[in-house]
């Protein structure tokens, strides 16, 4: 009987955090604000997105409190509209889009490729400044009156009918969009040009593949969003009339432009998360990912198909019935690569040697919730059932299952997985496993009742609702409070672990990625000598041989 964990830590009585590492190399605020080190920028991003997640989460709390009763009694309807708008804007543009790529991706993508940094370090820093500028502008817009268009900025509501800070918020997203283009471009160049000797495309970890696919989406999609937002701003300020039917414009055009970005944006958010899951499942089952090539190419397939499904947001908006046919069919096709991934991950477990540390628990949570999120997407991609379910709480539940149940679970999984590498210290295992379970329960209680509410027909973005919907809304609000605890716990124990966590050593999980073959926390230049990739990704036999060699040479 062997132990139930793979954690192998150095002897705590003698172990020390390496004196020279990227955290201790330089000190002072300026050394952080002017850094070009991808790891430090990753941490800057991590801190900033956490702040935005906290703000967005508080707004979500307000929404759920308001919906506790059928009447709109806690908030005025206008305030409620502003709250859900800012919740959407902050969570999507300032948390989900940059969450995995800009934090974990920034930190680990170069290390996984055996590179010393991203290809364009200054651009990387610039991307963080753009993100912060956009974020602060968005918060400024929120404090000085807010915006109540919904995160979708639907015209002509956003252009002609509301008197809130549409322009400021639009510009904030416009600016933040460039940060995402910069990150995407940086990743693409890095993956093409900075791979270490021996690192062929099919030896790259799947995390890199999925970030590559997401980067392509960012670079190609975000400019269209920028265009749409600028047109809204121009329509509001000088009335150019592109979306105004009385001037010969077409209000549906905005929807096309907006969703041309915003549907791929869903894949920008979820693909890097899928990359995390591939790493975690492989590491904690000690096995190469089942069907590596299929999983790699399914990321690419999602990126390609993802660009051709945008009009499925508009099935009931009077677009041509033939367009509905085409987009419904393409939506079905984009669901297939996701199914492939899920089953490949499940089969990775087969004949593995599985342990259940926190990252793995979050990954299991991801698989369950993402399957539900994906399958309910099929309800909506099917044109017939979409008529009944669209614009209701079914949609809300569906994308929260994908974005929160999927992406946020993946993000937390990755954060726990790489925390020892980033900080050199372990998080406390028991309490974090508990947090993972609490999050899972709270999540289901919050969002599952919303599927039923949507089927009953409760429209989204309602501040008040008919009384027969109350019971399910009470469940949902109760779940949200549990979910809140589930998200607060990691903040507390991860902060605690910065000082009191056990010293992790180079490779506590016995993982195969190049990022684990160097000290934790890593040197500013990542590796003392550039690695040479002489084996496939997820080659656990290679890892065993390496360990044997080390023991032999030391002994």
């Amino acid at each position: 009987m062997s132990s139930a964990t793979i954690i192998s830590l150095p002897d705590q009585s003698t172990a020390r955090i390496p004196k020279t590492n990227y955290l201790t190399k330089e000190n002072g605020l300026l050394s952080w604000l002017l850094t070009q080190d991808h790891k430090r920028i990753g941490l800057l991003y991590l801190m900033s997105i956490s702040v935005f997640f906290f703000i967005g989460g508080c707004l979500a709390g307000l929404i759920r409190l308001e919906l506790l009763t059928p009447q709109s009694d806690l908030l005025a309807t206008d305030t409620y509209n502003k709250v859900f708008t800012m919740h959407g804007v902050i969570m999507i543009f300032f948390f989900l889009v940059p969450s995995v790529p800009a934090t974990l991706g920034n930190f680990f993508l170069p290390m996984m490729l055996g590179a010393r940094d991203l290809a364009l370090p200054k651009m990387n820093l610039a991307s963080w400044y753009l993100y912060m500028a956009g974020g602060i502008l968005a918060l400024y817009a929120m404090i000085t009156g807010g915006v109540d268009t919904g995160w979708t900025f639907t015209t002509p509501l956003s252009t002609h009918y509301v008197n809130t800070n549409v322009i400021t918020t639009g510009l904030a997203i416009f600016i933040a969009g460039f940060s995402s283009i910069f990150t995407g471009l940086n990743f693409i160049v890095t993956i093409h040009k900075m791979r270490c000797p021996g690192m062929t495309w099919f030896r790259m970890p799947l995390f890199v593949w999925s970030n590559y696919a997401a980067s392509v989406l960012m670079v190609l999609g975000t400019p269209v969003l920028a265009t749409a937002l600028i047109l809204v701003v121009l329509e509001r300020t000088v009335g150019i009339g592109v979306f105004d039917p009385t001037k010969g414009g077409d209000p549906l055009l905005f929807q096309h432009l907006f969703w041309f970005y915003s549907h791929p944006a869903v894949y920008i958010m979820i693909l890097p998360g899928m990359g995390v899951i591939s790493e975690v499942i492989s590491t904690f089952s000690r096995k190469r990912v089942f069907g590596y090539t299929a999983v790699a190419f399914s990321s690419v397939a999602i990126a390609v198909f993802g660009f051709f499904v945008w009009a499925h947001h508009m099935f009931i908006m009077g677009i041509s019935s033939y367009a509905v046919l085409v987009f419904s069919l393409l939506t079905m096709l984009v669901a297939v690569p996701s199914a492939i991934k899920i089953y490949n991950w499940a089969m990775t477990l087969y004949k593995g040697s599985i342990t259940f540390e926190t990252p793995m628990l979050y990954a299991f949570g991801f698989m369950g919730l993402f399957t539900i999120g994906g399958m309910t997407g099929v309800f909506l991609g099917t044109s017939g059932t979409d008529i009944h379910l669209t614009e209701t709480y079914f949609i809300v539940a569906h994308f929260h299952f994908v974005m929160v149940g999927g992406m946020l679970m993946a993000f937390l999984s990755g954060l726990h997985f790489w925390w020892p590498k980033m900080t050199g210290r372990m998080y406390p295992e028991k309490i974090s496993q508990m947090a993972a379970v609490v999050t899972f329960i709270g999540f289901n209680l919050t969002f599952f009742p919303q599927f039923i509410l949507g089927t009953l027909g409760m429209p989204r973005r309602y501040a008040s609702y008919p009384p027969e919907f109350q019971v399910l809304n009470v469940f949902s609000t109760a779940g949200a409070s549990i979910l809140g605890v589930g998200y607060l716990l990691p903040v507390l124990y991860l902060t605690w672990s910065l000082k009191y966590g056990k010293i992790a050593g180079d490779n506590p999980w016995q993982a195969t990625g190049l990022e684990w073959q160097t000290q934790s926390p890593p040197l500013t230049e990542n590796f003392s000598e550039l690695p040479i990739m002489d084996h496939e990704a997820y080659d656990y036999d290679w890892l065993e041989r390496q360990k044997a060699k080390e023991v032999a040479s030391v002994g």
């Binding site: 062997s2 132990s3 709109s72 309807t77 509209n81 002509p156 509501l157 009918y161 509301v162 209000p251 089952s285 096995k287 190469r288 069907g291 590596y292 009931i316 908006m317 019935s321 509905v324 419904s328 079905m332 096709l333 297939v336 492939i340 089953y343 499940a346 089969m347 477990l349 087969y350 593995g352 040697s353 599985i354 369950g368 399957t371 399958m375 099929v378 309800f379 991609g381 099917t382 044109s383 017939g384 059932t385 008529i387 009944h388 614009e391 209701t392 089927t455 009953l456 027909g457 429209p459 989204r460 309602y462 501040a463 609702y465 008919p466 009384p467 027969e468 109350q470 019971v471 656990y540």
Partner: protein, 362 residues
């Protein structure tokens, strides 16, 4: 029950008496759509169960204590093909099935009766062909196909009737349609489901399904004295449309008799079929819609006629020189007025002066 907090007690009572899990099926399409819904639900459950089963079984069989050394497996093309092709096949079945339902919902039968619905911030205004107006309520007869022609006066709205499983966007500047046939008498929710600003959540109302007799009584009791087409006729005169659109040989505009549904060749060479949308566009943007052989001299009425005014005009032109129009007029006038000639929706007298109704744009 003194030991239970009254709040919780109230909540439990409410839960037991006022708790729904599935919406009523009150239209012809509803059971068909629900069949598809449950098919997808079944597939989802099978898919989810298979994932959960695989993960739990492997987690038990191959946990480290039981299976300390992993066996490396590359993958299996056969297995991967299986879980590519089976989901793809199922998704394609859903696609075809869904498309069939979709076309059914948006293709009205030819004998459907037409009701106009105008969405504005934050109310639904319903115009029946007989001239009855309603606000935030819609009365329809049982067992008869009803087509709704929707338009918005301001922002996007969306008319959703969950019990009928239908929903359609009301778009500014464009007619959209949806139809249903109610199969159960009762009162159902009518929602605006597209976010439309401050009082979005107050843009709700009732759909009242009535037996044909009750419906006839309701029509009679709610009449405003003139049918939509009659209003349109007055408006047609008030706006001097007849000065050009007449049957005289030297008329400056084409005659509009029987124009609805006909094929028309435009001055720009395009060939179109005249429908509601075309008539609306031709009134509001005449220079873009000149019939071949005529000069573009018609002024625009953009901003001068309200959506209801346009609807009346369209309804008038639609029935010009057809038996239907005469019929409409007689149904409205022949039915005995109910006590006091009640008009729903508080728009009493609005149609008395067609110019006032039509010309003034809200």
């Amino acid at each position: 029950m003194s030991h239970i907090s009254p709040v919780i007690w109230q909540f439990l009572v409410k839960w037991l008496t006022n708790f729904a899990l599935f919406p009523p099926e009150a239209s012809k399409i509803a059971p068909q759509m629900d069949a598809l819904y449950f098919f997808i639900l079944l597939v989802s459950l099978v898919g989810l169960t298979s994932v959960i089963l695989l993960v739990t079984t492997f987690s038990i069989l191959y946990r480290k204590q039981r299976h300390p050394v992993a066996v490396q497996i590359e993958g299996s093309t056969l297995l991967e093909a299986t879980w590519t092709i089976i989901p793809l096949g199922l998704f394609l079945v859903m696609f075809v099935w869904g498309a069939l339902i979709y076309f059914r919902v948006f293709t009205p039968p030819p004998n459907a009766m037409n009701v106009y619905v105008v969405g504005k911030q934050w109310m639904w205004k319903v115009e029946h062909p007989g001239g009855q107006h309603e606000i935030n309520s819609l009365h329809v007869p049982l067992g008869r196909a009803v087509q709704l022609t929707l338009i918005s006066q301001d922002v996007f709205h969306s008319l959703s009737i969950p019990a009928f499983r239908v929903k359609r966007e009301a778009i500014p500047g464009r007619y959209t349609t949806v139809w249903f046939e109610a199969t159960r008498v009762g009162t159902y929710h009518l929602f605006c489901s597209q976010y439309c600003g401050t009082d979005h959540s107050h843009m709700i109302g009732d759909v009242v399904v009535m037996t044909p007799e009750d419906y006839r009584k309701w029509l009679a009791g709610s009449t405003s004295g003139a049918s939509l087409a009659q209003n349109g006729e007055r408006l047609f005169a008030a706006l001097s449309c007849s000065a050009c659109h007449n049957t005289r040989p030297d008329a400056r505009g084409p005659s509009l008799a029987n124009v609805y549904g006909s094929k028309l060749r435009l001055a720009n060479g395009q060939s179109i079929t005249v429908d509601d949308s075309y008539l609306r566009q031709a009134i509001l943007e005449p220079s873009q819609h000149v019939t071949q052989g005529y000069v573009p001299i018609m002024p625009t009425y953009q901003g001068q006629i309200s959506e209801e005014g346009v609807i009346s005009l369209v309804e008038y032109i639609k029935h010009l020189n057809s038996d239907y129009r005469v019929q409409q007029t007689t149904t409205t006038t022949e039915l005995p007025p109910a006590s006091g000639g009640k008009v729903t929706g508080g728009k009493t007298g609005a149609v008395k002066s067609p110019a006032a109704q039509g010309m003034v744009n809200q």
